[in-house]
Each structure stands twice: as C-alpha cells, then as structure tokens.
Amino acid sequence: MADRLLDYSGLKCPYPILKLSAQYPNFKKGEIIEVIGDCPTFEKDIQAWCKRLGKTILHIEKQGYKITVKIRI
C-alpha cells in the first residue's frame, strides 16, 4: 500500500516528472509513492529520474500505455 498516489494520466512527458519533482520536497524519506502515467515515454523518464535522484523502484505495472510505478523515496 502506497503512502501517496500521484496520477499523471493524460499528461505528456516530461510534465509528469516535472510535477513529481515539484511535489518531491513534500515527501518524507522512506515513504512509498505510487505514480501513474500514460505517456509512451513515462517509464523511461521515471526510471531516469529514480536513477539520478537515487530512489528505488519497487514495482512497475503496465496496462497498455498506462503504467503504474511504485517508488521508495
């Protein structure tokens, strides 16, 4: 169960990660967030974001373009 759910469906990349970054200061360390996006490059972007910021991807679920990613902050 995630501590927060951020639904960025309908937004074109890179808006979802820009919005995620803007939200990031509100997150607590260790918190699990669930991010949803349906842009074709969403998965690639979220992986790059996690790698650069040293965050752990716990789970990725794909349903067509719709992707749900669980991240540990």
């Binding site: 990660i17 974001w49 910021l53």
Partner: protein, 274 residues
Amino acid sequence: MAGNFCPYGGFLECNNIFCEYGQKLSEILHHCSNVIEKLAKGDTSDKIEVKVKRYAVQRLIDSLNNQSRSLEELIDLNHELAIGICEHFDVLRRLQEGDFSATASEDSPIEIVRMLGKLINHQKERFLDYISKIKQQYKEIEILHKQEKEILSHIGVAILISEEDMTVEFINEEFERLTGYSKKEVEGKMKWIDFLAEEMLKQMIEYHKLRRIHPSLAPRQYESKIKHRSGRKIDVLINVGMIPYTNKSVASVIDISERKKYNNRLFIIKKWIP
C-alpha cells in the same frame, strides 16, 4: 469481399482488377497511419522498414521515418532537459536543508544543464568556504572570550557581568570572596539585585533601566551597599559600563567599608573636637 472492408477506404484482400495498388500497398498505408497515430501520442518506437518501388509511397515512408527520428531527438532532448532540471532542483533543495553532501552532476549532454550543475557546485564550494571562515572566526572569538574571562577572573577587583534581564552571566574570584557566593551558585542563576541591600534596590534598578536607554543617563560610578551571604552589609563603590554591541553591562565592585568606617569616625571626632 464485404467481410474484408478496409476502414481506410480500400479492401484488404482486394481482387479488383481496377485497383492499381493491390494488397501490399494497402497494408503499407495502414502501417503508415498507425505510425502517424503513435507519433501524435509521442511514441516514436515504430519505424517503417519496407522498400517499395512506387516513388510516391517510398517518399511518404522516408518522410515518416525522418519525422519520427527528428521527433525522437526532440523528445530525448526535452526529457534530458527536464531530468537535468529535476536533478539540480533536488540538489538545491538538499543544500537549502543543510545537506552539503549533495552534488550536482556535470555530465549532461545538454550544455546549459551541464553549466547549471557546475554553477551549483561552484556556489556550494563558495558557501562551504564561507561557513569554514565563519567557524574559524567563531573559534577565535571563543578563544578571546576565554582569555578575557581568565584575565577578569584573576584581577584584584570584584567583577560582575550582567545580562539585560539582570541575570548574572559572570563573576570573578574576587566577587566570590566579597559576597561569599560561588560562581556555580551565581552564574546564570542569580540576578545582580539579589546582592543589593534592600534600601538600594529601587535606585539601582532605575540606573539599570536608564543605562540601557542611554549610558549617559545613569552615573558611571556610585556608592552602594551589597549583602554578604551571611547577611552582613558591605559598603561598596561600583563602576558600571555597557559592553559595546550588547545589552550586557560590566560592573567592578570595590569594598569601601573600612574607608567608610574611618570617615564616620573622623566625622564624629571632627564634630566633638572644635
């Protein structure tokens, strides 16, 4: 034929002898339409690899592939820019929170992001230098403060330093000897008015207030009475001054009981001897 109706205006398995394109061309056009639809969504993963003899169709395929590659480059650039900004934003946030282990990466393929990373790291170094200088100055001040207290501790006059709220911050050994109270009992715990004889309280508090409005409003030197721990009253000469840039005051207290006694005796003798 009716079961194979083509939604794009033709027939998938067209056996019409009048149709000049036939089945293959129809499939290629379907493929092209799918690629265009995906490009519109920002998905550049599909490319059309087939080669056809018909020049107009081949031109369409080449244009689509070129458009797809250009769009892919633009998307990559856009994403690299966005990720770079996100990363630098995070570094700045961590620095603001006092986490100086945060370092911005300087290897982005986009020059402006790379320069921004360098700028952030450079600023961090400058800031760390500044902090280390402040720490050094703070240490020097601390040493000076200790030296000053050491000098005051061994001076032959009783010294007291008071905060604005009258709490005693410091007394020296001579003050301990004069009042019978130890540093431990006094510093940070007692107020200087605790040492005053009751009859002097009102006037001395007035001086304290006036001195903080302007130092010239209260006398620098005056006689007063303080109480020894035992309750014995001591006549003293007090010299008070403000410590610059603070609301603290420093007072030297000289025991003039003996002198007072002799003066009184002299006064009585003078009165009785014409």
